[in-house]
């Protein structure tokens, strides 16, 4: 088991380096940062001088080495656009994205599991059919459309919820939270639904099909024959056994939620990292783009590590030393 853990960690480091390299190569094709940084009246000579100052005229290998060395020390430079240290920018925006992702993830998980279990247990009831229809809608509609529809429904027409922003936030040390105010919670509702809808339907469908399969297995039948209570059976035994694939999917989806909140954040003008990244791409702000991509890679790698370790906890079969199940 220790060997397994060490091996996984080493693999993660290799993944991070690969991401850095690919991201770096891509930057050559997104445009010229200098044009966005200076006013239009800057002369050609001034622009060239700036390019040299930023190190953009050095060979790619040199630039890459410099980037990796700085990143390893936690120095991601200054944002070209905002002229502030990138680390500060990301730290400022991270709470917004993380809170949104957390609530979306919880929404997706809780509602998804509930709907999945219900429609698995009572497949032919009317409510199950409604859940199925909702899941179809959730999978087919793109998030920006869902977001805009929700805004028009709840903010413009009904006026119940705000159309954008985080509401009033409270600063606790370096973290700004929206959890402590009513307007903060109201602002979280629509973006969480938008961001979590796709994952919720995914989890629902997964749980439902897993439930149906597990309920047919022999050991469940024998438990029923033995006279175990319905509730113990369904939620105690059956649900636990559906959880392994759900954990995998949830883990992957959680990474996706954090990384791809870009669209939802743009629609709701949510001041998070995804929106920061989108701005950076448009303004060709290399330092921010590089830092964000590395951060996202780190999140994915970390979550996948946790998921793999969770397998060892959930499935006793994997704990035995030397097994090659589930890599």
């Amino acid at each position: 088991m220790i060997a397994y853990i060490i091996r996984r960690i080493l693999q993660s480091i290799v993944v991070m380096l690969a991401v850095a390299l690919i991201a770096f190569c891509l930057f050559r094709y997104v445009g010229d940062p200098v044009v966005s940084m200076v006013g239009r009246d800057t002369t050609y000579q001034q622009r060239e001088a700036l390019r040299k100052e930023l190190g953009l005229t050095d060979p790619v290998v040199v630039q890459f080495a410099r980037f990796v060395k700085n990143a390893a020390m936690g120095n991601f430079g200054i944002s070209y656009e905002q002229r502030r240290p990138v680390v500060d920018l990301i730290a400022e925006r991270a709470p917004a994205t993380l809170e949104l992702s957390l609530i979306s993830g919880l929404f997706a998980l809780v509602v998804g599991i509930f709907m999945g279990v219900y429609s698995g247990l009572h497949r032919n009831e009317y409510l199950s059919k409604i859940f199925q229809a909702v899941s179809l809608v959730g999978i087919s509609l793109p998030p920006f459309l869902v977001g805009i529809l929700l805004i028009y429904g709840f903010a413009v027409i009904l006026g119940w919820l705000p159309s954008m922003g985080r509401g009033v936030t409270v600063k606790l040390g370096f973290w700004t939270t929206g959890f402590l105010t009513l307007s903060g919670w109201k602002s979280l509702i629509l973006p969480s639904i938008t961001l979590g809808l796709f994952q919720m339907t995914l989890i629902m469908r997964l749980v439902r099909s897993e439930m149906l399969e597990v309920l047919r297995t022999d050991y469940i039948k024998f438990c029923r024959a033995r006279g175990l209570k319905r509730r113990d059976l369904n939620y105690g035994h059956a649900l636990k056994n559906t959880l392994v694939p759900v954990i995998t999917v949830t883990g992957l989806q959680l990474g996706q939620i954090i990384a791809y909140s870009i669209i939802t954040e743009t629609v709701f003008q949510w001041p998070g990292m995804g929106y920061l990244f989108l701005q950076a791409v448009q303004r060709v702000d290399f330092p921010v783009m590089g830092a964000y991509l590395l951060l996202v890679a780190l999140i994915f790698v970390f979550i996948n590590l946790i998921v793999d370790f969770l397998y060892l906890v959930v499935d006793p079969r994997l704990r035995k030393e030397g097994t090659t199940v589930g890599k």
Partner: protein, 539 residues
């Protein structure tokens, strides 16, 4: 016992009532104004970015020597009057009894300091004050600005150069503009100290900026805003939704396709007007062989007949009606009607005549047309990509097969500014409201291609096709130094006429300003699409 309970009950009731009254009364008397634009102001330091939105935004907090009135005419601001005492010396008399937001009095020292700061390494305002050789303090409220050669329009050209407080900058280590080399953030990026009508209360970049009125402002107030909150909202749909849901009082820009909707919604209106931005097409008339065409060995665009043919193949009325939904002003000049130097007599386009185009092309030796690539941005100007697509389609009808290279602004501008183009779309808004800025940057010969002398830096900076006519260059040099307005206009007329006959560029139209506002507020729309809080009245 009973008495005490009565008192407690009375006390509680009184408190509750007072609180309720305050909750009702306060909002009624508080005139909060909330508005949104599609992006944020780059920085609160007015020298960091030479960008209309940022300068317009910080113009609520900082002020310059002069400012524009509602008709875009220069009027006194921090200077009360000015005159040239010698051809290259302007004397400005500064306003007395003006203080900065922190109480520091405004004096001539601040003007001199601001100039030095504006030419510092990290400043993006150098081009505004490049022509200033020195500023001499005559007394605490008078300065002499010495220029490199006569500069008749200095007052007009510097209206976006704001005055900062020397004492405040020195105390906060902000005497130089934020540079890329330093790891520390410059204090002036998120803090301000100006003389303007509003003070910065809170600044969260990309999220929210809050301003409150400056009680000791020198001017008489016309606005009644008690608090102004600005949020950038990138998504068009979200911005409009925030306006229509009542969360915001004003938004801009309002996409053209949503103008009708906002007009029809009760309680809201769309405000439209002619913007100072001209959209035009540029052509590579410099190379002997085009980079992006199928014609080898010669450059078709060097022939004025070909350029005129392309011009007359474009149906601006159709573009105005179908693509811009009526919200544009077709133009024959590179400037709009609010710009100094505009001449309505010269503003008559060559007629739309595809038959004439075909005839001209045949005469020039291209009876079957040719192919070319049109570079266009797709996220910078109103319907920029759609306009380019229409132009390409119209050119195809006369035989010119036009392929579109549509890119995001950062890539498009980088490409054309390095002259890596044959045919391009560009827009320009002269910040000084004078034709010289437009023609200097887009029509004069590109500085880098001039070998026999040293031209003014920045000349022809965006003349990406390098249209070069020595007569026009000569006239523009004269225009820069001509003091007599009548003589100057005559020179301007001649320069614009020659450029127009040469078909140096193909002007398309003046963009339309498009704002959305609640009927509960009165706002003034400036021709350069900037927004000043000092004219806002909340009903």
């Amino acid at each position: 016992m009973a008495k005490r309970m009565n008192f407690t009950r009375f006390f509680t009731a009184a408190t509750v009532l007072t609180v309720l009254l305050l909750m009702v009364w306060a909002p009624v008397h508080a005139k909060t104004f909330k508005w949104a634009f599609q992006s944020d102001a780059g920085s609160m330091d007015p020298y960091t970015m030479n960008n209309t939105m940022t300068l317009g935004f910080t113009g609520n907090i900082y002020e310059g020597l002069v400012r524009h009135d509602k008709n875009e005419v220069i009027e006194p601001c921090l200077a009360t009057d000015w005159k040239t005492i010698k051809p290259d010396v302007w004397r400005f008399n500064l306003r007395k009894n003006v203080t900065f937001h922190d109480g520091t009095p405004f004096t001539a020292e601040d003007v001199i300091f601001s100039w030095k700061r504006a030419v510092s390494q990290g400043s993006d305002m150098k081009s505004f004050v490049n022509g200033i050789k020195d500023i001499i303090k005559v007394d605490d409220h008078t300065v002499d600005i010495v220029t490199n050669g006569p500069w008749p329009l200095l007052p007009n050209d510097v209206f976006r150069w704001y005055i900062m407080s020397q004492k405040w900058c020195e105390e906060n280590d902000a005497t130089e503009v934020a540079e890329f080399k330093t790891a520390k953030e410059n204090y002036a990026t998120r803090h301000t100290n100006g003389t303007g009508p509003f003070m910065l209360k809170d600044r969260e970049p990309q999220v929210k900026t809050v301003m409150v009125p400056f009680p000791n402002w020198w001017d008489k107030r016309v606005d009644n805003v008690t608090e102004a909150i600005f949020t950038p909202i990138k998504s068009d749909a979200t911005r409009i939704a925030s306006l229509l849901s009542g969360e915001l009082e004003m938004i801009y820009p309002l996409p053209i396709q949503d103008v009708n909707r906002v007009q029809k919604t009760p309680g809201f209106r769309a405000i439209q007007g002619e913007e100072t931005r001209t959209i035009f097409l540029g052509m590579d008339v410099w190379r002997d062989e085009l980079l992006y065409s199928d014609v080898k060995g010669k450059n078709p665009l060097k022939d004025v007949r070909v350029r005129k043919a392309m011009y007359q193949a474009i149906d601006m009325e159709a573009i105005k009606k179908k693509i811009m939904r009526g919200a544009c002003w077709p133009t024959a000049l590179m400037i709009g009607s609010t710009i100094n130097g505009f001449n309505p007599e010269l503003n008559k386009r060559f007629p739309y005549d595809p038959e004439e185009s075909k005839r001209l092309l045949a005469e020039a030796g291209y009876p079957n047309g040719f192919s070319i690539v049109l570079d266009t941005p797709n996220d910078r100007y109103v319907n920029d990509e759609a306009i380019s697509q229409a132009v390409a389609a119209m050119l195809a009808k006369v035989g010119i097969k036009c392929k579109l290279n549509s890119q995001t602004r950062s890539k498009h501008f980088a490409k054309i500014v390095s002259m890596d183009t044959s045919f391009y779309l560009l827009g320009w808004s002269p910040m000084s409201f004078d034709m010289y800025n437009t023609y200097f940057t887009n029509v004069m010969t590109k500085a880098e291609t001039i070998k026999d002398r040293v031209p003014e830096p920045g000349q022809g900076n965006w003349n990406c096709g390098n249209y070069s006519n020595p007569k026009v260059d000569q006239l523009l040099d004269a225009i820069a130094g001509e003091i007599d307005p009548a003589k100057r206009q005559a020179l301007i007329n001649e320069a614009m006429r020659i450029h127009k006959e040469d078909v140096g560029h193909i002007p398309l139209h003046q963009q339309a300003l498009s704002w959305g506002a609640s009927d509960k507020v009165e706002v003034h729309q400036s021709a350069d699409n900037t927004f000043s809080l000092r004219w806002v009245v909340v009903k």
